[in-house]
Symmetry: C2
Subunit: 177 residues, 2 copies
């Protein structure tokens, strides 16, 4: 069955961004030729789910082709519909319904690229199957947390941990069901 | 110079306890003969700092000898003084002053055993030199966070990461100064 995967970087103290969506701490581990397995990871996905704020941010910073390369479906979770463009669908329905629909269809895996709101909505409904979390060697002290309070307990199965020269450590878990 | 070290376990979502100080999730990684380097770690410390609530909890659960083995100084940080007992000192002064005093003296390293209040007070004043954090493969969903909001940014140097058969991964960082 298709899996829903998280592939995301956090500070050691659990933030995905500093206040005002500041992602500059990610530069600490940027290294030419090192993508921390991102390309290999995305080779196994054909569907991306992400929040509208994250979408608008990335579109502005990088451009539309970062998500929609013409070969995968992009679901932008939003409260306010927009006309679909290319393979990008602006989805205003329920997230559990969307996951159920996608999982009933054939395909590669489903990648949730954030932001925190969509991730926590998936976690609250126990819909994430795989966690690939890269820990950046910094304490940010404040910002947007990956994990918000008020979710159900979920047991995980440890799969792997890899450390890189830059000081990044990548942790890989599966949801134990 | 003497270092201040943290040696602590958290869930993947960053909690050191579930609500009501429930530490039962630690049982997930209990294994006979495996102490995750605790004995080796404590061989290099001669001073323990901890909060009063943690102290009372451990004294009740395990007994006084868990901290005071007659060979090391135990500082219990509290708002309400108590008579000192053995090598256990109930300290009502400022935490930065205590660290400054201890660091001006000769000795082995200083171990902060928690709880979250004392750790965050140390972090707010940038007084932790070493972080040894064991990640337990579970999402607790709620509870006491290791890292509270509202601390200064602190760069870390990655030292090591070790994974164990039980699924525990131990991350080791030094404060980059």
């Amino acid at each position: 069955m298709r899996k829903v995967s998280l592939f995301i970087a956090i500070s050691l103290d659990g933030y995905i961004a500093k206040p005002n969506d500041d992602l500059s701490f990610l530069k600490l581990v940027e290294k030419e030729g090192e993508d921390y397995g991102y390309k290999e990871f995305t080779a196994n996905i054909d569907t991306i789910i992400l929040g509208r704020k994250t979408y608008d941010y990335v579109i502005k910073e990088i451009g539309t082709s970062h998500y929609d390369n013409g070969q995968r479906d992009v679901y932008v979770i939003t409260r306010n519909g927009r006309p679909n463009t290319g393979k990008t669908i602006f989805y205003t329905g329920s997230l559990p319904d969307l996951i159920e629909k996608l999982k009933s269809e054939k395909g590669k895996n489903i990648y949730c690229d954030g932001g925190a709101e969509v991730i926590n909505e998936l976690l609250r409904h126990d819909l994430i199957d795989e966690f690939i979390i890269s820990i950046i060697p910094i304490l940010l002290g404040q910002g947007t947390r990956l994990f918000k309070d008020g979710r159900p307990e979920q047991m995980l199965e440890f799969v792997d941990a890899k450390s890189f020269e830059t000081g990044l450590t990548q942790l890989f878990y599966r949801r134990k069901r």
